[in-house]
């Protein structure tokens, strides 16, 4: 329970601190921080902004979760970027070409996404587990390979088709869509958000309540002690990276199944790196990541709103960067504060005890 509090307090501190610095930056550049703040807050109630934030947060949650699973094992999966993009691309091709009945088609697309993500992560996983190759290096390189592979897959002479000056995979028919929640003029919430919530709960349960979660944390904390305790640390490296890849493979699907229905040259990129920042922000904690994802999505949207009123949008990029930097410091401050509070409490208890009893004999020494 202290964990949850720490997970909430530290990001809050980081946000306040970064906001103050950004306010100073705005003042220096001659803009009003108060106007900026007002615009950022009022935008949430306007148009589809609130729903957009929620939808982006769902995607961010998936990528951050993928990164967090690796972090539990001290594995740094930078390849989330390539995993989710390749998975979305292949899932779109399967969804658009293989004839399947409704519901089944949606499920198959989701499974293909997870499978492709896991397979793409299997390469660094095997290299790491059996050859000791750093997953940082191999996943970065595979990101570049994924970009090339996607370009090949959606060429008009393979699976893609020209549409205007864009190239796209065959559209997924209605039977493969994931129905969302329509809120009229406020927009449509991705139905995939249910899957995301289920994954978050599953992650929490897996980590805290299952043997697998224990083995994961044990091998992350001390591979030598885990080995002596009968945990196959090599197998855990494999499984953790495969799971990370499978979750990453789902990150492109909310947009694919709820809005775009095809993978195109202009499909979004860069979520993988956002995921690293959010996992850091949320300390790999399922609730912390959710808050981090919402915050990030809110700041993204604010950038657009600020642009409209003429405040440079870059200020929010600065703010996002500052938050990630300061949250690390904030966690340390909160930790020290809690330790000091605990120590004061012990001291107070002991004083009360000493007053109640007769004074204890002096420590002798000579």
């Amino acid at each position: 329970m202290t964990r949850v509090r720490t997970v909430l307090v530290a990001p809050a501190l980081a946000v306040v601190f970064s906001a103050l610095l950004c306010a100073v930056a705005l003042l220096i550049s001659g803009d009003s921080p108060l106007t900026a703040l007002r615009v950022m807050i009022t935008q949430v109630g306007q148009g589809t902004t609130a729903v957009d934030i929620l939808n982006s947060a769902a995607i961010y949650y998936l990528v951050a979760l993928a990164v967090a699973i690796g972090f539990q094992m001290k594995l740094f999966n930078i390849g989330v970027e390539g995993q989710y993009r390749l998975a979305a691309c292949v899932a779109a091709i399967v969804g658009g070409t293989v004839p399947l009945p409704p519901v089944i088609r949606t499920i198959v697309i989701i499974l293909v996404g997870a499978l492709v993500g896991a397979l793409w992560a299997a390469i660094p996983a095997v290299l790491r587990a059996y050859r000791g190759v750093s997953e940082v290096i191999s996943t970065i390189m595979l990101n570049a390979v994924a970009t090339g592979l996607i370009a090949f897959l959606i060429r008009p002479d393979t699976f893609g088709a020209l549409s205007g000056n864009n190239i796209t995979t065959p559209p997924i028919p209605e039977s493969g869509h994931f129905p969302g929640l329509h809120l009229g003029s406020s927009g449509t919430i991705f139905g995939m958000i249910l899957v995301v919530a289920a994954l978050g709960t599953g992650y929490w349960f897996l980590l805290g309540r299952t043997r697998f979660g224990f083995e994961l944390k044990a091998s992350g904390e001390s591979p030598s002690a885990a080995t002596a305790g009968g945990v196959d640390a090599r197998r855990m490296v494999l499984i953790a990276l495969l799971m990370s890849g499978a979750v990453a493979g789902l990150a492109g699907l909310p947009e694919l199944l709820g809005r775009d229905y095809a993978y195109t040259l202009t499909s979004p990129q860069g979520y993988g790196f956002t995921g690293i920042a959010i996992a850091l922000l949320g300390r790999n904690h399922p609730v912390g990541i959710a808050i981090g994802a919402l915050l990030w999505a809110f700041l993204d949207k604010s950038a657009v709103a600020l642009d409209v009123v003429g405040v440079p949008r870059e200020i929010l990029l600065i703010m996002q960067g500052l938050i990630v930097l300061s949250v690390v410091v904030a966690y340390e401050i909160v930790r020290r504060y809690e330790l000091a509070a605990e120590q004061r409490r012990v001291a107070a208890q002991l004083r009360a005890l000493a007053n109640a009893k007769a004074p204890s004999p002096e420590g002798v020494s000579s």
Binding site: R211, F214, E215, A225, V231, E342, G363, V364, S366
Partner: protein, 525 residues
């Protein structure tokens, strides 16, 4: 030992004043415990001052404060008559205080000289001047090896000396030794004490922590006893007996692992036959043709100087090392190729020699540490799920039965004192009715009171039919607990001894390969 030429940078001698170190009113609190409470300690210049106290009494904490690793909450530190405030060990070293930790902090793949120079390049450079200084100090600490030798080829006793040399090289005149003798055999302890006495004559001051009270009385000039974080008094090592000292510390009797009637059966639990293992680099053998049998209700002791293959033998039996030849059977079943988990599930408990590396998850709470090694078995596991309530309950049982001093089962394992961590590990490994216990130094770092407790638990389990493979550097423990003893030397079992007749001295000689006494039988041939 005549080399004592420490001119200039040597100890300050009488001019520095009577007290090398004065600690006054030191208080240090951690969440849930007061590790030190109003401690007063004065160490005379040029004496060996021993600190005694049960596990968790606060000895290591006090020494870490003196060495600048942790700031005290209250109290003052005075060194050579000047009040000081250490922000880091670097400050303490500058004030002439050095610390040798219980676990060696040497780089195996560097040479003796490189280990000394690493991080101390500023003192005398890295050239001829530095070499000359190392040679000079090597004489002081009695290290008689070539400075160009790789540390991995050094035995434990020489490593110990090298650690002291490192500290002296950085200019220490007061040296803290936290349980330096835990890994040494008796002869090595005697040699170390000779060195300490010579250095003391040269004016060096020592703070010495040990749970072995006979040793403390042999080397110390003054003994300070700490109980529950406060100094309860000082004792004169010439006047006090070990028994009195133990009573001062814990209020309990001095234990002896006395002999008792045998519970050995003829049911073979563990049989190892012709086990050989090549070194990691593929070269020589670290285990050669080792064969042994442990019966139900039997304790088989392995005697040997550290680094003669004990670690490899134990880790091979546990399935943590691969590539061995030979067979291992447990209760008649061949487990030579089983995984570590399967071996544990088959009923092997394992107390590792290095609890921090192989026994504990430092930043996990105690109850999570109870799960390690038992994650697949009841009462902890229910199918693929972990029963957290059961884990907590059973941790509380261990805490009570093994007298683990802790504010609760939610504190992190790293927050326990060394001896209390050890008790937790032993308690866990005896959980779940194992058929075989592999115990490497089961009472390492544990105080005399807790030692009796662990011995008693081992004896009871043995009476219930537990087979124990015991590795220990404490020869009294080895002789007192074992039903039979085998001596390991350079990866081979070279002799057997009967614990009812053999003396620690005979065993010590056999362990160094210097021949056999009347109570030793040559193995094999």
């Amino acid at each position: 030992m005549t080399a004592s030429g420490n001119s200039g940078a040597g100890p300050g001698g009488s001019t520095a004043g009577e007290w090398a170190v004065e600690l006054a009113g030191i208080t240090k609190r951690f969440p849930g415990v007061v590790a030190n409470s109003d401690i007063h300690l004065r160490v005379r210049t040029g004496e060996v001052h021993a600190l005694c106290g049960e596990n968790g009494a606060g000895k290591s904490t006090l020494m870490k404060i003196l060495y600048g690793m942790q700031p005290p909450d209250e109290g003052t530190i005075t060194v050579d008559g000047r009040q000081v405030r250490f922000r880091s060990p670097a400050d303490a070293i500058r004030a002439g205080i050095g610390m040798v930790h219980q676990h060696f902090m040497l780089a195996d793949n560097l040479t003796v000289a490189e280990n000394v120079l690493l991080g101390a390049e500023a003192s005398h450079g890295i050239g001829a001047k530095a070499r000359a200084r190392i040679q000079e100090l090597a004489g002081t600490v009695g290290l008689r090896v070539d400075p160009g030798m790789l540390v991995e080829r050094l035995g434990v006793a020489d490593r110990q000396r090298l650690e002291i040399l490192k500290v002296l090289y950085r200019g220490a005149r007061t040296v803290i030794l936290d349980e330096p003798t835990a890994v040494l055999v008796p002869q090595e302890v005697d040699d170390l004490f000779d060195t300490l006495r010579t250095m003391r004559a040269d004016g060096y001051t020592f703070l010495f922590i040990s749970h072995k009270l006979d040793e403390v009385r042999a080397i110390a000039d003054t003994i300070t006893v700490i109980r529950r974080g406060t100094t309860v008094g000082t004792a004169d090592p010439k006047a006090v007996s070990s028994r009195q000292l133990a009573e001062m510390m814990v209020g309990s009797e001095l234990p002896t692992p006395e002999t008792r009637e045998s519970t050995v059966t003829d049911r073979e639990v563990l049989t190892v036959s012709q086990l050989s293992l090549a070194a990691d680099d593929g070269g020589r053998h670290v285990l050669e043709d080792v064969s042994l049998v442990v019966h139900a209700g039997e304790v088989l002791g392995i005697a040997g100087v550290e680094g003669n293959g004990q670690t490899e033998l134990v880790e091979t039996i546990m399935g943590m090392r691969r590539g061995a030849h030979g067979t291992i059977t447990l209760g008649g079943r061949d487990i030579s190729h089983a995984s570590t988990l399967h071996r544990r599930e088959a009923g092997i408990g394992y107390v590792p020699e290095d609890r921090t590396r192989h026994g504990l998850l430092a930043s996990q709470p105690l109850w999570a540490n109870r799960i390690l090694g038992h994650q697949s078995r009841p009462p902890i596991a229910r199918g693929p799920l972990i029963d957290r309530a059961a884990a907590r309950r059973d941790t509380e049982r261990i805490v009570a039965d093994f007298d683990v001093r802790t504010p609760g089962v939610d504190v992190h394992a790293a927050a326990l004192s060394g001896g209390n961590q050890q008790k937790l590990v032993v308690g866990r490994e005896l959980s779940g009715d194992p058929v075989l216990l592999i115990a490497s130094h089961p009472t390492r770092g544990v105080d005399v009171g807790a030692q009796t407790g662990i011995w008693e638990e081992l004896r009871q389990a043995r009476a219930r039919g537990l087979a124990v493979l015991l590795i220990s550097a404490d020869l009294d423990e080895l002789i007192g607990l074992s039903d039979s003893i085998a001596v390991i030397l350079r990866g081979r079992l070279v002799a057997t001894a009967d614990p009812s007749t053999v003396t620690p001295e005979e065993l010590g000689t056999a362990m160094t390969g210097a021949g056999s006494g009347p109570n030793l039988a040559k193995e094999g041939s």
